[in-house]
């Protein structure tokens, strides 16, 4: 990806995420290492069996050390196997990351316009709700009609949910952070309520659970794997977002408004329109994430039916994914894949007696270190020296990577 001329660089600065260069990649790698080292320490501390061996550490240190090494290697081994060990795990990682990438792209796009879309959760819920509704209510349609219709319904629902916030911000100045957070609660409540109503509830059940989505509205997949259309859609979405941001006048307006709204207004751009459009697009991408969970087939071939907890915490994880990806489409794809891998591997890591909470801790550590390069450079001084040496040529080459 090549860098656009001057306005681009100025546009990026306010988003506060520095340009990616090699030294930054080194820092990211060490941030990951640091997170895994701390994770390993926690793992050893949390394991009662290993702990017990540490009680006689000075009598026979070998026991405690081998037990610790065993523990760490089996856990991380399982994590790795669960994420990348074979076609099943790899495709599972891809399936897990697809919704995170979509929602992360949405949050990142809003970041570029200087908007904090905390409402990815609500927008994804609306996307899942309406994607699933079209998916299970309509029957007898062929795949080529039904599936696009269901996707469209979810994307539009998410877009409206996000666009409404943009509208409020543009017309009244209501802060998008507050409004999106509140819209999350409204969407969650709406889903819980809808599931108790005849329209959404499975006819033969009294529980709040929706019917299974029709086969023709389910993402096609490669049999025997978890790889389905959703991941492809996520990649296409990433490409489209890149195209829009870097190659269209709308993208230019988004970046300009993000960098300096007043200057953009003076230059004749409509800040209000840009805000609305950006929020609608951001919501549509989060809606697509919701569609992914509602229509994406899981191991049992059919999608998980719509319930109150189906969307999980995708909308919130998306914020971290976007931060981690530096709000760049390619970065977001990699960040989403990392999160997907941690999630898929974490489920398998549980089999080794490591609590699932540790995966969450690991994710948080990864994000914390990756998002704070200064902290990593302070903890690992040799990185700082390296950066100082490279500081001058970095400006000249200005090699953007993602």
């Amino acid at each position: 990806m090549t860098e656009s001329p001057t306005p681009d660089r100025t546009a990026r600065r306010p988003v506060r995420l520095a340009r990616v260069d090699w030294s930054e990649i080194t820092v990211t790698v060490f941030a990951l290492l640091l997170a895994f080292v701390i994770g390993a320490v926690l793992m050893v501390i949390a394991d009662t069996e290993v702990q017990q061996k540490f009680t006689y550490f000075f009598a026979r240190p070998g026991d405690a050390l081998t037990a610790s090494v065993d523990k760490i290697s089996t856990s991380y081994g399982a994590l790795f196997r669960g994420a990348f060990g074979g076609i099943g795990p790899i495709t599972n990682t891809m399936a897990q990351s697809a919704p995170l990438i979509c929602a992360g792209l949405g949050v990142g796009l809003a970041f570029r316009a200087g908007l904090f879309n905390i409402g990815g959760q609500g927008q994804a819920i609306m996307g899942a709700m309406f994607g699933a509704l079209v998916g299970f209510k309509l029957t007898g349609l062929p795949l080529v009609v039904h599936l696009p219709l269901a996707i469209l319904a979810g994307v539009v629902a998410g877009g409206i949910w996000g666009g409404f916030v943009g509208f409020l911000k543009a017309r009244t100045g209501a802060h998008e952070v507050i409004v999106t957070i509140m819209m999350n609660y409204i969407a969650g409540g709406l889903l819980s309520f809808a599931l108790t109503q005849a329209l959404f509830r499975r006819p033969d059940r009294a529980d709040p659970i929706a019917p299974v989505v029709a086969w023709n509205a389910t993402f096609p997949r490669i049999a025997g794997t978890q790889l389905h259309l959703g991941f492809l859609l996520a990649l296409v979405a990433a490409f489209v977002v890149w195209l829009v941001i870097e190659r269209t006048s709308l993208g230019f307006r988004i970046r300009a408004v993000g960098s300096n709204p007043s200057a953009s207004a003076t230059a004749g751009m409509s800040v209000a329109n840009t805000t609305m459009v950006t929020m609608a697009l951001s919501g549509a991408l989060a809606g697509l994430a919701g569609v992914q969970v509602a229509l994406g087939p899981m191991s049992g071939a059919t999608p998980t039916p719509l319930t109150a907890g189906l969307v999980g915490t995708i909308g919130f994880d998306a914020i971290t994914v976007a931060l981690l990806g530096r709000s760049r489409p390619l970065g977001t794809v990699f960040a989403g894949l990392l999160f997907g891998a941690l999630h898929a591997g974490g489920l398998v890591m549980q089999g080794t007696g490591t609590p699932k909470e540790l995966t969450t801790v690991l994710q948080a550590l990864v994000v914390m270190f990756v998002a704070t390069p200064m902290l990593v450079r302070t903890l690992l001084p040799f990185l700082r020296a390296r950066r100082a040496r490279r500081a001058v040529p970095a400006v000249a080459s200005s090699g953007g990577l993602a």
Binding site: S192, P208, I209, V293, M298, G309, G312
Partner: protein, 380 residues
Amino acid sequence: MKKSLLSVSAILAASALTLTACAQAPSSTPSASGSTSSSASSSASASTSTSAANADFKACMVSDSGGFDDKSFNQTSYAGLTKAKADLGIQTGQVESTDAKDFATNIQTMIDQKCNVIVTVGFLLSDATVAAAKANPNIKFAIVDDNPAGAAGLKNFKALVFNTAESSFMAGYLAAAQTKSGKVGTFGGMKIPTVTIFMDGFAQGVEYYNKQKNKSVQVLGWDAAKQDGQFVPEPNPFDNIAGGKTTATNLVSQGADILFPVAGPAGQGALQVAQSSNGQVNAIWVDTDGCVSAANFCKSIVSSVYKGMDVAVFDTIKAAQEGSFSSDPYVGTLANAGTGLAPFHDFDGQVSAETKSELEKIKSDIEAGTIKITSAAQPK
């Protein structure tokens, strides 16, 4: 910088010294593997002859998003699995779900681990479990708290459900007999059948008391006719202890002096209200014997409606291991002790002998079918 790194390592070393007492290393070498020795000893106590065959048998469990430490149905079901591991000397495996999209993946993980029987917990896993049972006819499946219609005819699928309306009926009668204000209160975690079944039974138990004794004890928090009542506010109502406390306080301010919270951990809010009332308000706990699972509140707990999920899970695993697994649904009732009223503990002296004998009579009447309980939520 070097200095700070040095200080960090110094702190680590110091804490290592303080944390690790200079204990003696165990002398015998086999103790290096703690897990195998403990399971071996427990299986040895059960039966040494069968333990070799049992060691090849693997029972597994998948939780819903509550996790195995939810102090509610996941945890109770999990207790059945750990009991099976200890008593039968079998292998076990388990995986907790973070959210709904993990269910199918987690069941698949258990299948990949070559589990012989897989128990899933909660109606949310219903579809994924049935699909897995259809795809894997050689593995036995069971699900706690659900009896899906789609599983009819599946030879390797067993539903574990509980008619807690029966035991809650007794709890309602007990509450009506114990109230001094003439008002008893109940609230739920969420309006789902596995919750409202308790509330239906409770309300009908109070009604039965009124009819028998010609009294007019009022039930607050649940209208059985309208099937609507008080629920803990969102989000995460089952974990919302503060919300449970608000709901309980609300009922108490309306005059209720016996509370029947059907909200998992959030029900602890009601126990807190009861505890701080100086004996004015008391509670009847659900799912487990509250004097065991929430022992610090025992002096406020009149009794508990237990739901024997651990027993059902254990029995299912045992049957699968012995080769006597049947696909007939297990329905926990008063008659098979799958559900019932837990001991009175601290209230043993305060519940009159008359009430106790009446409760015994009610129990046998329900078992015999002379008392009919009507709840849409009852397992069919």
